[in-house]
């Protein structure tokens, strides 16, 4: 943490040239007011690092906007002056995505935190970037509605998670949180305000991106590099009154995959997730600790919700059939009691306890990164076994999670890797292991999500040239001066 990258040092010397700072700051003050912008080092410093292994880098300015018009004006100005803009809501993405590669303006959107509308009849909510999971959960519950809450900090942004293809606790049922986006309002890097989805046709219709051409894709998964999203519509869902969580364990990853595949065919779960023994531990052991011989290696929780007892019974019957089938195959499957605290942390979301990284980092200390991927379920087994070798060789716990998305047999496959960030050596050890894991996964057909630049480079190395070319052209088209979160896509 103590050293800034050499690139950053160079940049810092140029931009801190007093005249330039003053003229930029003067303009920023005109746009957002004096109390909403700063070039003070201590404030910039607080934005220069995150949880991950990504090296800290300082922005040159921090700006907080309060209105869409201010965002527009800011982007027009930045585009004219070719100053980088990094959109930020809470900085908890675990991938250094809001750490500025090339300085510039860090745009903190936390003050744009209105829940613009909740339509309990149509099950749509419209939110601004600063709306946190905690705030939305509180507001939705009053209508007995829910959303796919991630296991992340309750203070993090719903919008940032959704536009970054985030994953919540309803992913087996509804897919990714980005798939829940029904409309978007975006300020383009050149300052124009545009809308995609139904709200583009009628300003108060936020119900669907389809059947229009899916221009929403231009702003999802771009890591803040294609525009500033100022509003999204999202699907929200009623909360069924009955919860039942089926928990099993297996001795190995292959048996767990077999069970998950079987169960996911019935498409009856809200969340279908398996975690390795190391991830059931609160916290993840750091450094690596061997699993006790008498403990299974894999645990799974299949979260189901039902409207009636009969529905719950029917789901239980299906689950029992699956379980028996798996037993008949001779796998190591067993019904199990999932460790209580870990289970609570995964089903009572958003969770302040898990969000505060207790389950992950309490022993490791300050740092956490992941090889977080979308990976075809059929390669989970072999990839896990390789990951385990790599991680254990680095004295790190193979705390791996596998989550089936919407019954389509691919899903989140990731290892949560805590590390001691106080030590540069231990941080580098974790980074090295994680990048190694990532290469294995990419070569097996997986794709990292919310990727740090290290990962983006690995993706691009393997990418079809046509894909990369199109990506570059789209980026150039939207952001001719490359001001939006430059460098993050690794292109």
């Amino acid at each position: 943490m103590s050293e800034l990258s050499s690139l950053q040092k160079e940049h810092a010397t140029t931009i801190t040239d007093a005249g330039k700072v003053d003229s930029v700051l003067r303009e920023l003050r005109k746009i957002v007011g004096e109390s909403n912008c700063t070039a003070s080092k201590h404030i910039r410093y607080a934005y220069s690092y995150d949880l991950s292994f990504v090296k800290p880098k300082l922005p040159d300015y921090v700006v907080m906007t309060e209105t869409v018009e201010q965002v527009q004006e800011l982007l027009r100005f930045a585009n004219k002056e070719k100053i980088p803009i990094v959109p930020y809501t809470a900085g908890t993405n675990i991938g250094g995505l809001t750490i500025p590669e090339r300085g510039g303006i860090l745009l903190d959107l936390k003050k744009m935190n209105n829940i613009v509308a909740i339509d309990p009849e149509s099950h749509v909510a419209v939110i601004e970037p600063g709306v946190s999971h905690a705030k939305l959960a509180d507001a939705l519950y009053k209508h007995k509605l829910r959303f796919g809450w991630p296991v992340g900090p309750p203070s993090a942004s719903v919008l940032a998670c959704a536009v970054s293809h985030g994953i919540g606790g309803l992913s087996a049922k509804y897919g990714l949180n980005s798939q829940e986006i029904t409309s978007m309002e975006v300020v383009l890097p050149t300052g124009e305000l545009i809308r995609v989805g139904s709200c583009a046709i009628r300003h108060d219709a936020w119900h669907s991106c389809l059947p229009l051409p899916q221009l929403d894709g231009l702003f999802k998964g771009w890591l803040g590099s294609s525009g500033v999203v100022t509003k999204i519509g999202i699907s929200v869902h009623p909360i069924p009154p009955l919860l039942k969580v089926f928990t099993v364990s297996t001795e190995n990853v292959a048996d767990m995959y077999s069970y998950m595949l079987n169960l996911s065919n019935y498409e009856m779960c809200d969340d279908l997730t398996a975690v390795s023994w190391w991830l059931t531990q609160v916290p993840i052991p750091y450094p690596f600790k061997a699993k006790p011989d008498d403990s299974p290696e894999w645990f799974c929780f299949a979260t189901t919700t039902s409207w009636t007892e009969k529905e719950r019974e029917a789901k239980t019957e299906i689950w029992e059939t699956v379980f028996e089938e798996e037993q008949k195959k001779g796998t190591s499957i067993k019904q199990t009691v999932y460790p209580e605290e870990a289970l609570r942390g995964r089903t009572q979301l958003p969770s302040q306890v898990v969000g505060s990284t207790k389950n992950y980092c309490k022993q490791g200390g300050a740092g956490i990164s992941w090889p977080g991927t979308f990976t075809p379920a059929k390669v989970w087994g072999p990839v896990y076994n390789k990951w385990k070798d790599i991680l254990v060789a680095h004295n790190l716990s193979p705390a791996v999670r596998m989550t089936m998305y919407r019954g389509v047999h691919y899903g989140m496959f990731r290892a949560m890797i805590p590390f001691n960030k106080q030590s540069a050596e231990e941080t580098e050890n974790a980074r090295h292991a994680i990048v190694e894991c990532l290469k294995v996964d990419l070569d097996a057909g997986g794709i990292p999500y919310k990727p740090p630049v290290d990962f983006a480079n690995e993706i691009n190395k393997r990418a079809d040239p046509g894909y990369l070319d199109l990506l570059r052209r789209m980026k150039k088209f939207l952001d001719p001066n490359d001001i939006m979160n430059p460098g993050k896509l690794g292109i």
Binding site: S2, I43, Y45, A46, D108, D138, K362, Q363, I368, Q422
Partner: protein
Amino acid sequence: MEWKIAELKELEDKIWRCTACGTCKVAYDYGPPPTFGEICPAGAEFGFEGFMASKGKIAFARGILSGELPWDEEFLEAIYKCTVCAGCQNQCELDHKPYIPEIIEAMRRRAVADGVGPMPLHKNLLQSMKNYNNPYQGPRRVRTDWTRPFKKAGKPIKDLNKEAAPVFFFVGCTGAFNTAARAVPTATASIFQKLGMDFGILGENEICCGSTAMRVGDSEEFKRVATKNLETFKWLHDERGVKTIISSCAGCYRAIKKDYSLSSEYDKVMEGIEVIHTADYLNRLYKEGKLKFEGELHWKVTYHDPCHTGRHLNKFIIDEEGKQLWKGAYVDVDQSECLYEQPRDLLKAIPGVELVEMKRNRANSFCCGGGGGVMTGFGEWAAKNASLRIQEGADVGAERIVSICPFCHFNLNEGAKRIGSQVKVHDLTELIDQVLVGKSDNQT
């Protein structure tokens, strides 16, 4: 007397437990139903991440330790724009949790040691402490002004300088010198007299508890007054038979209970002396059936938990030896000393009073905005923050907001004035004094 007050450097390993997850930024509880509220007064006012909760303060601490953040005027100010309310601490679950207010104050101590801190207005306050032994530039004799009505009524309060009594009422500087808060000692003493308690005060010889000095980072000044006070407590115990020290001030109470325990002599000095807050003391009497109320107060009230009688009294269980988890691991929090229920139980016991809760209460109470030297250093912001709290009370339909701290009392009043709110601010003792039947009344 040795004092174990940590320097920032000593806390470095703790500082490196923070993941920057930002969970400390909001008070959130899963429920169900889930509840959400802002928890950081500084974050709510200034917005930037550096101001925001312990996440921001840890960033500052790291920058100071690594040398990347040298002092400048603005940075210094940022370190002091925090009420040290510990709202952020309540949200965190990692190993540095127990030390979060300590880390904030250690940065201030560092600023003072480096000759840059505290803020200019704090310097006046500290000078006043040196000159007058109180932070209000109040001459010694003014300290007893509040007792005049008692003398006039022929019910003088016992002077422990001259006489013995088992109970020492530690009045505190705010109640004594801040005219707007004088209702607090007055009501307290009135209650004690009605109860026929044998209690006394030190009058002009009482000196500041040192809380404010500690909060703004002047540990030397804190040690000076705290050492004197501890010596006085011992003398009061040995020579005047004092067994109980009662305070109606959340700040003094916290200082004596918690900050003084950093002294090597604390256990020895305090042997045979109990320190108790008036609300706790009265609640005990109430539970024993010794408080009798007459008449009714048809008031809809809400209760504001002062930080210093609430989450600041958390006791953290730490695995010092590494037997349970690992060395230095934060294991759990024991809230049994936090005065959450006692004042509420008393309020509920007052005939006619209807108690309504604000959304943010108990461990997630939203600070009034006056603590950590903010009322002195940034009075305008302190009052603005208090007005948010007043509004929160008004939003749940409360006509009165009750607390147990003269500091909160003063600041909440300022907040109410600022927004022209009809919500009235009271100390709990004022309500009790109104309905309490005195011993003599009892007999008639």
